[in-house]
């Protein structure tokens, strides 16, 4: 597999960070809306899997942070 150069690594880091922020807002909004709208979100979306996905992104972001 082709190794990423420093600039590409930096872009990836920023993307992961911003995606993590976006996902955090989305997950929080979905959980709150699911309570307020009495189950509307969980009817269409598996919130447990979404939470797991958020956790994976959070770990990747944390790993990038640790490498700094």
């Amino acid at each position: 597999m082709k190794k990423l150069n420093e600039k590409q690594k930096e872009i990836l880091k920023i993307f992961v960070r911003e995606f993590f922020y976006f996902l955090s807002i989305l997950v929080a909004a979905f959980f709150i809306l699911d309570i307020v709208l009495k189950g509307l979100i969980s009817a269409y979306l598996n919130l447990n899997l979404l939470f797991l996905f958020w956790l994976i992104i959070a770990l990747i972001d944390l790993r990038f942070k640790a490498k700094k």
């Binding site: 872009i11 920023i14 993307f15 960070r17 911003e18 995606f19 922020y21 976006f22 807002i25 989305l26 909004a29 809306l33 709208l37 009495k38 189950g39 509307l40 979100i41 969980s42 009817a43 269409y44 979306l45 598996n46 899997l49």
Partner: protein, 506 residues
């Protein structure tokens, strides 16, 4: 203020803008899902073994003991009834439900029905047929008078040529080749009942007070001659359950509600969770009194809606022409005798002290299990009225027919309703029904039903449904079952535009 061009923005800001727009789109989508601007929506549930699938809008299929959890690609119903909830983001006015299913049911369970809960937690399920195999067979062996996809009228022999001829006779309370009129040889099944009971000439009635205590919800028919009529009820709250008990009495004339009163029980739960059939427990919560003027002799239907914590202490009526329908649950009495025209009776008890013997036309039956139904069959075909003697009290009787007490006069208020015990070789010569046979689609059957959601009970955005296969009970091996592959619910209500217009007009 200096505005920099988008291409000169730092990468993180560009990404934030893109994700922000994406978030906004998602929120708009959620708003649309919640409000359903068009007023029409369609929800579907298929049984697939998909780990990633969401909860769905149709959920909570229960109780688990009546379902075979090993079947993953379809819902396997091995005993009835099975309940489920349907989630809707808002209220709608009507629903079309399409069910794709297959079955491996025995001959003793020819009817499959779907019901929608109406009128609150103490309400009833409005049951509609998904399939009635008896009618599916009769459609080919009997003559069809009317079969327009909605109404189905069959006759054993070809007597009437069309629906108009039949309706003209039926509305006058007579039918060809039928001495006793519709009451003796017509059978209803899921039929929008326009039948009007006609009392015999010189019908004499006298007032009666029924002191037989009854537990929970009951329904009875009372015929009043021309003149003043009254109905009085006394109620008692057993206080076995905590929470307020609400008793509601509805009186109908020709299917129109003419009087309704409520009574609220005191919240005096003693937490004594056993019911004593000998000693009268609980507290009196009061009485309800109704009276009116009958312009001509007419049949009144009375519904007493109450939970099992309520005892109907007494019923006083100006007419003794009074019969209970479908369910009868006497308490605080021993050796009670009742009369019924029903050939099959299902009896059940929830108290060990109510276990014991029952006699149906002198034939002895032993009720030896609690929470389990015992089916009683009157063997004497010639006998019109069967007598049931209850040695013990607290026995719940369920039947497809009417019950009279020793103090009241028996009469058949409505033509017989078709149930799973119907025999084509019996006395019935006409069948009236609002039934449509399911369509065949490869290995499945597809049935569609429409429900009015306006009067349905909507609890926290959930409608409650029941799937019923009368007679389907748990058996070892579970070889008799109903398999549901797909449920599709199309709902319809007011659109957002219509809602805004009606809001402005207010």
């Amino acid at each position: 203020m200096k505005i920099t061009k988008f291409k000169n923005w730092p990468l993180n800001l560009k990404l934030r803008l893109v994700f922000g727009v994406f978030l906004l789109v998602i929120l708009v989508l959620i708003f649309c899902l919640k409000v359903v601007p068009s007023g029409k929506a369609s929800y579907k549930k298929t049984w697939t073994n998909n780990f990633f699938s969401a909860r769905g809008t149709m959920l909570d299929f229960r109780p688990g003991i009546r379902l075979d959890s090993k079947a993953k690609s379809y819902l396997k119903i091995i005993a009835e009834p099975v309940y489920f909830n349907f989630y809707t983001p808002r209220s709608f006015s009507k629903a079309k439900i399409t069910i794709k299913y297959f079955d491996n049911l025995a001959e003793a369970t020819p009817i499959i029905e779907l019901g929608l809960l109406k009128g609150g937690l103490n309400g009833n399920y409005e049951l509609k047929p998904l399939q009635n195999k008896i009618i599916d067979d009769l459609k080919f062996s009997w003559d069809r008078i009317v079969d327009d996809g909605e109404t189905l009228i069959l006759q054993r022999e070809k007597i009437y040529n069309n629906g108009l001829e039949f309706s003209a006779d039926f509305s006058e309370g007579r039918l060809e080749n039928c001495v006793g009129g519709p009451l003796s040889c017509a059978v209803f099944y899921n039929y929008n009942n326009d039948y009007k009971y006609q009392a015999p000439a010189n019908n004499l009635t006298r007032s009666v007070k029924i002191n037989q205590a009854l537990r929970g919800e009951h329904q009875f028919f009372n015929y009043f001659n021309q003149g003043k009529w009254f109905l009085n009820f006394d109620f008692r709250d057993l206080n076995l359950n905590s929470g307020q008990e609400i008793v509601k009495v509805n009186i109908y004339l020709d299917n129109n509600l003419i009087a309704s009163q409520n009574l609220t029980g005191l919240d005096l739960a003693t937490r004594n969770d056993s019911f004593d059939n000998e000693n009268r427990q609980g507290t009196s919560i009061g009485e309800l009194r109704f009276s009116g003027l009958a312009e001509k002799g007419a049949l009144y239907k009375v519904e007493i809606k109450a939970g099992n914590d309520i005892i109907i202490e007494s019923i006083e009526s100006s007419s003794d022409q009074l019969v209970f329908a479908n369910k009868f649950w006497p308490v605080y009495s021993e050796g009670l005798k009742i009369s019924t025209e029903a050939k099959f009776l299902s009896v059940k008890t929830f108290e060990t002290e109510s276990l014991g013997q029952l006699f149906l036309n002198e034939e002895k039956f032993e009720l030896d299990k609690t929470y389990s139904s015992l089916l009683l069959e009157a063997k004497d075909e010639e006998k019109y009225l069967n007598e049931l003697k209850l040695e013990k009290s607290g026995v719940l009787i369920e039947l497809n027919g009417f019950i009279a007490l020793p103090d009241t006069k028996f009469f058949k208020a409505l033509p017989e309703k078709m149930d799973r015990f119907f025999s084509a070789s019996g006395s019935a010569s006409y069948l009236l029904s609002n039934y449509k046979s399911p369509k065949k689609e490869k290995n499945y059957k597809v049935a569609s039903l429409e429900f009015d959601l306006n009067s349905a009970y909507l609890n926290n955005n959930y409608y409650s449904f029941v799937i019923s296969v009368p007679g389907l009970e748990l058996t070892e091996g579970g070889e008799n079952y109903l398999g549901i592959k797909e449920i599709k619910i199309e709902v319809e209500g007011r659109s957002l535009g219509e809602k805004i217009i009606s809001f402005i007009k207010k």
